[in-house]
Amino acid sequence: RTQRVKKILIANRGEIAVRVARTCREMGIPTVAVYSDADRGALHVRSCDEAVHIGPAASRESYLVIEKVIDACKKTGADAIHPGYGFLSENAKFARACAAAGILFIGPPPEAMDEMGEKTRARRKAIDAGVPVVPGMKEPIVEGGEEAAKKFALEIGYPIMLKAAAGGGGKGMRLVENPKDFDSSYATAQREAIGAFGDGRVYIEKAVSRPRHVEIQVFGDTHGNCIWLGERECSVQRRHQKVIEETPSAIVTPELRAEMGRVAVNAAKAVKYVGAGTCEFLVDGNTKHFYFLEMNTRLQVEHPVTELCTGLDLVRWQIEIARGGKLPWTQEDVLKNLRGHAVEARLYAENPAKNFLPSPGDISELRLSDGPGVRNDCGVESGSEVPRYYDPMIGKLAVWASTRSEAIDRLKRALSETVVKGITTNTAYLKRVLDLEEFRKGDYDTGLLARAADRLLRDDPSPDEDLALAAAAIWQLEQDQKASYKAAPAASEESAWQRAGRLSALRRGR
């Protein structure tokens, strides 16, 4: 007796909105897009069957406004909402507003979001459920509590982490090596936390040695079933932003996987979790002890690697379970079906050579990779604009192969087919990360990218330098000639080029 879903509104933008729309289309469920002034021309708008404008570019005035999203549902008769990730996806108020409006929220019950949404509360919940956690504060730092906080930090001992209580995705997160940096880091963390979540509260945690970020995908249904779907290793991070994710993790043995899975499921059951959720753990690279960090009560950016190794469509499961369906798999089915290795790279519109400065602008050409074992999830296409108002991630490239080394070689091959013109992206940077010896060996922690920064950015002479020079000369000559003919294609390219030129000139920060 599962509830029917007649139409789904996707309360998001970019690649995740496109990805959700794809599964809805396959399920034969019509979709509704919402868009801000900056996104009228965005791919997710034309990927849905209907679209509703919900305000100005700034997400605080559009994608984050609960009333506007609910109104869009009423206007279009959408009876369910998929929140994607970010924006309102972990906002319990939003989930309640949906319920109040008789709209099915495709995600966990608001109570579970309350319990897991606020980090210190989640920690307490986890501790009660017997889940190991990193030593740290049980409450965020209060107004004027800075001194007490510093005392606490000294007690558990530096280095420590400052984290946004409402946080996630590394925003409002700071590593503090020693007491003298506390104040400045605290200020930055608060500022970023307010900017990202409209909530500046921050708390303290002990920093773990050679820490690896390993998370467990869990899934619960409304019939009391809950299972885990394996782990994702997300230790390749820059400033707490995930860059490359893989599954399985090189340090996770079948025993450790089962143990972490059991613990994650316990944490989920402790809050009567329903739908797709992720328990993030910090694993000590030396001792392999693992500590619960937080639970993300939504679909993760990196969910494709889990889909590739399990063969599941997690969005389809989210929808089935939201409308009251039973989990189609038992824990044993998972073990039977886990197969091979998957790696995902995130494509960012940013300039690694300029301290990873975001590079919004017009994509004059986008060439994605294809062929065996390759999956692209992209929020843009040739001709798209990357607006400056939102996250600079333009898409994800994930690959599957039967072994880790084949998967890495495949991802490198796919990256070498991936070309984005008009804006600057991190594709070349990603290829270098894949070549890092530590990464190839699987012997890395969350400090990898920081430690390898020099190796990742140096530009060494290439055997193709003369060919590159020749190519540049040929290209320039043809451009000049076309321009002088005032022939159509040249003209149009020229203008595209000039735009690109201007943009990147600006990007130089001179």
Partner: protein, 167 residues
């Protein structure tokens, strides 16, 4: 046609002649015979001897070109007579003389790390601007002294707005 190229700080001289079935490109005296086919979107399919390569050329930074071949991006500057003159005239982008620090994109100044008159080293952080939810530190392009400082903490700035000058 003659071009003057700069790659990884080195000067290279390129002479290119179009001819039957492609181009003759001479780089610092060494000649290459190259057959080129232009692709949609500004790419090239090159045959240099037996070597086959797909090359993507993307103009950026004031006449600088990013040339992508397989795994590697080659950043280079290609100057013909005209550009050569431009370059000679306004040395705007050379590191001689005062350097402007402009806002890379519309955003908000969250911190100003220097005062007018401060001595700064090349690469030292000068101003922090927030855009696309990320804090971005603008560094000094050269060693020198802050002679102008227009950035104000908390102020919203448009693309290209002058924030400071290092002399």
């Amino acid at each position: 046609m003659k071009y003057h190229a700069v790659v990884r700080g080195e000067d290279r001289v390129i002479d290119i002649v179009k001819r039957e079935g492609g181009y003759k490109v001479t780089i610092d005296g060494r000649a290459l015979d190259i057959d080129a086919v232009s692709l949609k979107g500004g790419g090239l399919s090159l045959l240099a001897g037996l070597r086959s390569a797909r090359v993507d050329v993307q103009p950026g930074k004031d006449g600088k070109l990013a040339v992508l071949i397989g795994e590697t991006v080659h950043e280079l500057e290609l100057l013909d007579e005209r550009r050569m003159r431009m370059r000679k005239a306004g040395g705007k982008f050379s590191l001689e003389g005062p350097q402007r620090i402009d806002a890379p994109m519309p955003g908000k100044v969250v911190r100003v790390l220097v005062k007018t008159g401060d001595e700064v080293t090349e690469g030292q952080g000068i101003i922090v601007v927030e855009a696309m939810k990320m804090e971005n530190e603008l560094k000094s392009p050269k060693a020198g002294k802050i002679t102008e400082l227009l950035a104000v903490e908390g102020a919203a700035v448009e693309s290209g707005a002058k924030l400071a000058v290092v002399s």
